[in-house]
């Protein structure tokens, strides 16, 4: 029998349908717990700094991946920065068109070495440019999640 056998009709192919029943509940972790509490309670962004590598992590980490030191130096960083890169998303996960395109971006927050992932709002796609200054817009009611920041808008 050959390796490939052409099916003339798709109803000849038997496929079994099913799903995998899972939900995941993630803890924030040692560093994440503090990061998200600061967002929730104080609407501010906190990062951790490695003195050996002179590297500031946002979101903060409890260890430095470069030198492996435990990171205990927490610094407040401003909730503004510039757009490092962005994309305009037109389709959802099932490839259906979105009602309104979304803007996802990597943001260079002032004073941080790692890039922050989030969305842009209050701006049209044509207006966005790399290097655009932006600031975070925090929700009124916050729960300790990344969506407590609604989006970043142009300064």
């Amino acid at each position: 029998m050959g390796l490939t056998e052409r099916l003339r009709r798709f109803d000849e192919a038997i496929a079994w349908k099913g799903e995998i029943p899972l939900q995941n509940r993630y803890t924030m972790g040692l560093a994440g717990e503090r990061f998200f509490r600061e967002i929730k309670d104080n609407a501010r962004l906190m990062a951790t700094h490695c003195p050996q590598c002179d590297y500031t992590y946002l979101p903060p980490r409890s260890y430095c991946e470069r030198c492996f030191a435990e990171l205990t130096e927490w610094v407040e960083v401003p909730s503004r920065g510039t757009v490092y890169a962005y994309t305009i998303v037109h389709l959802d996960l099932d490839e259906h068109p979105l009602d309104k395109p979304r803007l996802a971006a990597l943001i260079e927050i002032e004073g941080c070495d790692s890039l922050f992932v989030h969305c842009l709002g209050e701006v049209e796609p044509e207006e966005v440019y790399i290097g655009m200054p932006v600031e975070a817009v925090f929700q009124e009611k916050r729960q300790g999640l990344i969506t407590d920041i609604a989006y970043f808008r142009p300064l």
Binding site: I20, N24, R25, E33, S62, E65, C67
Partner: protein, 388 residues
């Protein structure tokens, strides 16, 4: 074939807990940092990293090992993942071993981690995919079925009673009382096991190890480097691994043939001709009590059907002729899938150096064997460690 000698020179682990606050990579970092500290190394001294972590579905993270990479010391380093189900904890050591034995690298970190608590309502949801999607899942199975049926076949073949098997849980939980990272170190009796609720007959609740979160890390080094770092390197003398058919219903479930294949490969490499005399400590994989016995037989450390008798005679106690699972095993310390196997290797490392504290096997043991097993009961992985 020219292979370099490889030694374990350091080890570290986190507590095994039911649900950890730490993220998966934080757990990895805690274990890895401890392993590096234990032999005075920094990340700069590490040439490569071999990581092991079980199904991505547990953590709900795509490519879980790569996600753990920073916490495993893998930043900017050659990094490899292995996953063979429960066999991962020992397979990762084998991966790390050939990184160094080949001459390609002088040092290698081996890091295994599991965070099963994020999988809700029960990690079994992720395990359901172990059953064939078309022929088996429509029957509504759960993971216990496989173990229960294997246990039943084993008991029936050799006329074993549940009482004989329950002794293993009693022994391992008692051993675990002396393990600082153990989840379930406690004194229980055979009757406690036999009276615990039936889950899938013959399996009862206390026959099963607790699922947990945790991470373990060890440091491997080539002989020249090992001698510089420590005066008591623990050598990897033999490795072996083998896989059985996925068509599990066509196998003889009363005997783990693939464990024997893996053991023979490792014994040959280590020059061991009389395992029962030459192996001083055994850490076989014990996710269920009957599995310790099943595996002891597959490892040729007991005659077929005779491992329960060995246990009843006290031979496998810490102070017996062949201590088995002096750590407390998965039944006592916990079962974070990949980390559990590596816990056994770390245990041998500490035991053979006389550093196991209250768990120390007396009599100056020189050679130990760790074995793990997994997938659809398919894989056998074996590592033999020894000191001069």
């Amino acid at each position: 074939m020219k292979m370099r000698r490889v030694a374990v020179v350091g080890a570290g682990m986190t507590k095994f807990v039911r649900r950890a606050l730490e993220t998966a990579d934080e757990l990895s970092w805690q274990a890895t940092q401890m392993a590096l500290d234990s032999c005075g190394l920094t990340l700069d001294d590490i040439d490569a990293v071999a990581s092991g972590t079980a199904p991505d579905a547990f953590d709900g993270v795509h490519m879980n090992s790569e996600y753990l990479c920073p916490g495993s010391g893998g930043w900017n380093k050659p990094f490899i993942r292995c996953y063979v189900g429960g066999g991962t904890g020992v397979m990762a050591v084998i991966h790390g071993w050939y990184h160094v034995a080949s001459g390609l690298f002088d040092t290698c970190l081996v890091v295994c981690e599991e965070k099963m608590s994020s999988c809700q309502p029960h990690p079994q949801g992720a395990f359901l995919t172990i059953f064939d999607h078309t022929l088996e899942r429509p029957l509504g199975p759960n993971l216990l079925w496989i173990f229960a049926m294997e246990m039943n076949a084993y008991m029936q073949r050799y006329g074993l009673s549940h009482r004989d098997i329950a002794l293993v849980t009693v022994k391992n939980r008692r051993n675990a009382k002396d393990h600082p990272c153990a989840l379930l170190g406690e004194d229980i009796t055979v009757d406690d096991v036999l009276n615990s609720e039936v889950m899938a007959w013959p399996v009862r609740r206390l026959d099963v190890s607790p699922i947990s979160d945790g991470a373990v890390a060890i440091v491997l080094a080539s002989d020249k480097v090992a001698h510089r770092l420590t005066d008591k390197p623990v050598w990897i003398e033999g490795v072996g691994w083998s896989l059985e058919t996925a068509y599990w219903t066509n196998r003889d479930l009363s005997y783990p043939q693939q464990v024997e294949e893996a053991a023979r490969m490792a014994y040959q490499m280590a020059g061991i001709t009389e395992p029962r005399k030459q192996i001083h400590i055994a850490e076989p994989y014990d996710p269920f009590d009957y599995k310790e016995l099943h595996h002891l037989e597959g490892l040729l450390l007991a005659d077929k059907g005779k491992a329960p008798e060995m246990t009843a005679l006290g031979i496998t106690r810490r102070d017996g002729d062949l201590p088995v699972c002096p750590s407390g095993g998965l039944l006592g310390v916990g079962n974070p899938i990949a980390a559990a196997g590596l816990m056994k290797v770390a245990e041998l490392f500490w035991q053979l150096r006389g550093e196991a504290g209250a768990r120390q096997v007396p009599g100056n043991p020189k050679r130990g064997l760790a074995q793990a097993w997994g997938d659809l009961m398919q894989v056998g992985t074996v590592v033999i460690l020894g000191v001069a």
